[in-house]
Every structure is written in C-alpha cells, then in structure tokens.
Assembly symmetry: C2
Homo-oligomer: 334 residues x 2
C-alpha cells in the first residue's frame, strides 16, 4: 500500500514514518511506498529507505501529488499555535487551505483513501455561556480560543463531511500536548511543556512561563504515534459513527512534572528550572484544557502513558537515537 | 451608517433590507447606504430606494466591495442544502469560500465592522457516539449531516476567531426553517415545509415527502428577520461571550401544520396535500432536529411565533405585497 505522511519531516511525523517502515505493514497490508511531504527534508535515516519518496515544499503546491492515488494518509503538517497567533494569514494558509488542497486531491483520486488527521486538544476552550468542564471529553462542545484550534476544528468537520460523502474514509484524532520534544523551543505556546524537561537534562538553565499549579493533558511521542496508528486501523464501526476523538492524555500539573524530573534525574537537574511568568503564554494556556478523558480511544484499546516519570525515561532513551542532539543529556549525571 | 446585506435579493434578504430601510436606522445610527450583493438583482421596490446600491454577481468576485468600509453586515447569501448535497463543489464555493472572501475584505477594511451571519439549525444532527437530544439547544454538540450544515458550522467558528482577533465584531444566529416561503419550490430539502401550505392556498395539488409525525422547529419570515436585527443590536456582553446562538423556533409536526391550514383555510384547501414519501428528502430530514430551544435568544428578548396558524396568517397577509405572485391565494375561498 502507498502511504502519505504530511509533516513527515517533523518530530512526530518522522517518528510515525519510522514506526510504519519498521512495521512494514499497516492494517494487514504491506507498505510498498511511503511518501513524506513537508516544507523541509526528513531526517537522514528516513531519506535512505528505498520505500521512502520525499516531496519538499508547501502542501499548497502538492495538489497533483495528493491526487496520485494513496491508500492511506496521515495528515500531520501544521503551523503551530504560537505562530498562528502571531501570523493570522500563515494559520489560514498552512492549517486550513493546505488541508483543503489535500482533501480535494484525495477526492479527485477517487479511491476513497483512509485518512487520519492529527487534530488537537486546542479545539477546546472556555466559553462564558457554557464553561469548560474540568476534563474535556469526546462529547465536550469545542470552543477554540486560538486560530490554531479553530482551524483544526474546522478541518475535523470538513473531513467528517468528505467521509460522509464517501470521498475519503477520514478520522480525526485529537493529540494531547506531546512531550518531551527534542531540539530547540518552537513557536508553539506549549513549547515549555518540553523545555522544562529537555533544557535541564541538557544542562541548560530555563524558565517556566506558568505556575506549578497549571495542569494539562500530555502524552509521550510514542503514545501519540501509537494512537494515530490505532485510529488508522480501527474499523468505521469501531469509530462509533463519529469522526473526531480524543487520544489518551496523562493529566498532570507542572509541579508534578518537575517532581518527576527530580525523581528521574536528581535535584540538581530540577533546580535548572526557574518560574518566570510570561503573560502572553500564560494567557493562552489559561484557556486550555486542564485535563482530558478519552472514552472512545479507550474502547479502541488505547491507554495514556503510565506516569510522567515514564515519559521522561522515554525521552532519555530516545536521546540515544542519531536524530537527537549529541549533547541532549549533557546535564544528566549518569 | 453603511450596511451590506449579502443575499439581499433573496426572499429573506430582501425582507430584511425592506425592514432596515423602513426603520431608517439600526442600533441608533441612521442608515445612509444599504448595499445589496447577490447573484440576482433585488425586487423592484428595493432597487428604487435612493439609499440602495446593487452589486450583482458572485460574492467570490466582490473582495474590493467587502473591503470598502461597511459599518454593519448581514451575511445571508448561501446555496441551499439540497443543492449542496447534489453539487459538492458548489457548496464549498458558495458557502465556505465566499464567506472567506467576505471576512478577509472586512478584515482588510480595518474598521471592525459588526457582522451577523445567518447560520442554520442544520449544524445539528444525530451522532452514534452522542445521540441528538429531543430539543437542540445553544450548548448541543453540533454534528452536521449535510455539506450545507458543515459549511455553516465551519463559518461560525471562523467568524468567532475573526471576532476574537478583533478583526470584526461577528455573531452567528442559527435560523430555524423559515416558512411560508413564496414562489416556486427551491432546492432546499426543507422546501416542502413551505410547499404544503403555499401550494394548496394557490389552488395547486402538492405532495408531502415525509410523514405527518415528523416534527421540526420553524419560524415565520418576520420572526427570522426580527431575530437577525436583534442579534445585530445586542451588545457583545449580552451575547454571553459566545458567538453562535439558536434563533427561536416553533416546534411543530407536519400533521399539526396541516391541521392549522385546515383551521385557517378550510378542509378543501387541506385536501390538496397528499402524502407521498420521497426517500432522498426523508433521509435528509430524518437527520434534522426534531425541535429546538433558544435560551440565549430568549435572554435577548426574542420569542418564537405564537402558533402555526399565526404563521399561515402572516403568509396570507404577505401575499398582498406586490413582490408576491398575483395568484398566490387563488385556492383560498375568501
């Protein structure tokens, strides 16, 4: 089968591509070709696999590629939340128009490909007329408070309609905040959820822009990737007749995250994080979900990460992969 | 103030334009110019008012007009539900892309105009994972089952985001099914809700494509127009911090509609309606709301029509307007 991963050069997309190539099959069918479409070329290890085809450039220009007859698509490409708040047109172009081009291409191909859309917990937000529940669930009324969340939600509904019309077999899976991400901070308002673990482990002092009492649903990269693959392989019946679901999240406070860091890496590492409030980030995060439930994902057999320590241990193990910076664990005394 | 009514040549848009011109003011400000943008020219009585400017053509081509500095906008232009089910691209173009062009124009104008978007009860639908309640309310999770409803919902969320960013001051008001519409049946799947009253009053035999037990929330044209004007004039605070609300509907069954017709116009008129199931229409209608609530509209002082008899009486009175067909009441013995 021919698979397309948009955003396949990104952190999560590349990890998903590796998992797919390692498994060699998906939903019982051999993967003969894996196309990676992204603004940037993928990490070196992906580019050398003979099954991989690389398409570098804006998704807006890939209409012909999208119509070329894929059997399965993972649509992860996205500008991130902080970027979209700063550049409104970028968000419309990258997150809404690009998805339109992708869906039209898949429709024109005519083979009703299966598609998994990486949506986000950012579709939820507070709403004066209907306050956000403590835990956002599959049936919570979305009320996004960022352009990023707005466009994700619009795409969920558009994908549901393309699916209803039998142009594609689409599903939307809402990712929780994925942590720990390697590399540099990115423009996502949630970037600090990785930074407060990644930087101290690398021996770098860092600040946390929100207080220790802030709670949020998070997941490890491997749990997120497993979630996307599980949703791809679920039958339409098992999806429960609706097309957007929450992926499992571990509901954890910033204080608990730092406590876990101390347990795993020691007090000295933990001390490299200092609280320094950033009003712009704190304002965005104040409108985010405090925690989540994922009943429909649970019915598909998915579980949240066992603990935040386990998430940190996964990151430390990941740091041995050649795509991770050589000095990623420079601050860790072991 | 300069007002724009998109779809202002249509049934509801023209009625709204007349009401605005008659009032001469809106929200305490004198209306100096009323622009009507539609595919077709408006009824003759509107074209002759010196305050009216007519812009005929596709909204997609009116970017410059939209950016020309309106103080208030009523966005009613739309392809109807049945059409969009038959022509998927028409729906995307007319209901999604056109709204995009309108919003971008208003954003570029830079004066943060107020906008009321005519959304629809069609945003609601059944959902296997979360069944539709008997009555759909402001806080019901939307699950549209038509492209029309999907695009309306997407536009609601986009308008909320443009408003959050302070590019416009937008509000979305979900119209219930407006009846009795004059003239010919149109492509809307809901067309029969008008046809079963309009045709027998004109002396014409007609069929009803769904059973008498089917219930649905409806409103008279004057109630719908009043609702849109009330939402325009509400303060942002009074909107309750969220931007889409249900307009009031009268929850009524097809059987009760025909009973009201008999009470108002006699048994002979009622007998001109014969039940003849149309599977395509019945299938669409089966996924519609059986009734609605409108708590937020009620808080703004809006009420549903008093009875379906009152709605029929309103239609009969309207038939005296020169824009209505001369033979509209040919079947009525009075």
């Amino acid at each position: 089968m021919k698979i397309l991963v948009t955003g396949g050069a990104g952190f999560l997309g590349a990890r998903l591509a590796r998992e797919l190539l390692k498994a060699g099959q998906l939903d019982g069918r051999t993967i003969t070709e894996l196309a990676i479409a992204d603004l940037f070329p993928p990490p070196a290890d992906l580019g050398t696999d003979p099954r991989v085809r690389v398409y570098t450039g804006a998704l807006l220009d890939q209409a012909a590629l999208f119509a070329s007859g894929f059997d399965g698509v993972f649509h992860l490409a996205s500008a991130v939340s902080g970027e979209c708040e700063l550049d409104f047109e970028l968000g419309l172009r990258s997150n809404l128009d690009s998805t339109r081009v992708l869906l039209e291409g898949l429709r024109k191909a005519g083979n009703v490909p299966r598609l998994v859309f990486a949506s986000s917990v950012a579709v939820f937000g507070p709403d004066a007329a209907n306050p956000m529940p403590e835990l956002v669930g599959d049936n919570t009324l979305p009320s996004p408070q960022t352009s990023y969340g707005t466009h994700k939600l619009m795409c969920e509904y558009l994908i549901a309609d393309y699916t209803r019309k039998a142009f594609i077999d689409g599903r939307s899976a809402r990712l929780m905040t994925v942590t720990v991400r390697p590399g540099k901070p990115n423009g996502a308002a949630s970037s600090f959820f990785s930074g407060i673990i990644r930087e101290p482990l690398a021996g770098v002092q860092t600040t946390c822009p929100v207080g220790p009492e802030v709670t949020h649903p998070v997941s490890s990269p491997s749990s997120a990737v497993r979630g996307l693959m599980t949703v791809f392989q679920a039958s339409r019946d098992a999806m429960g007749g609706r097309l957007a679901l929450n992926l499992p999240g571990l509901n954890v406070s910033v204080g608990e995250m730092l406590q876990a860091l101390e347990l795993v890496a020691g007090a000295e590492v933990r001390q490299r994080v200092r609280f320094e409030r950033d009003e712009r980030i704190a304002g965005i995060v104040a409108n985010w979900a405090k925690g989540s439930t994922a009943d429909r994902a649970a019915a598909l057999g998915m579980r949240a990460d066992a603990s935040f320590q386990a998430i940190i241990e996964q990151y430390i193990a990941d740091c041995r992969h050649p795509s991770y910076p050589a000095d990623a664990l420079q601050g860790l005394d072991r």
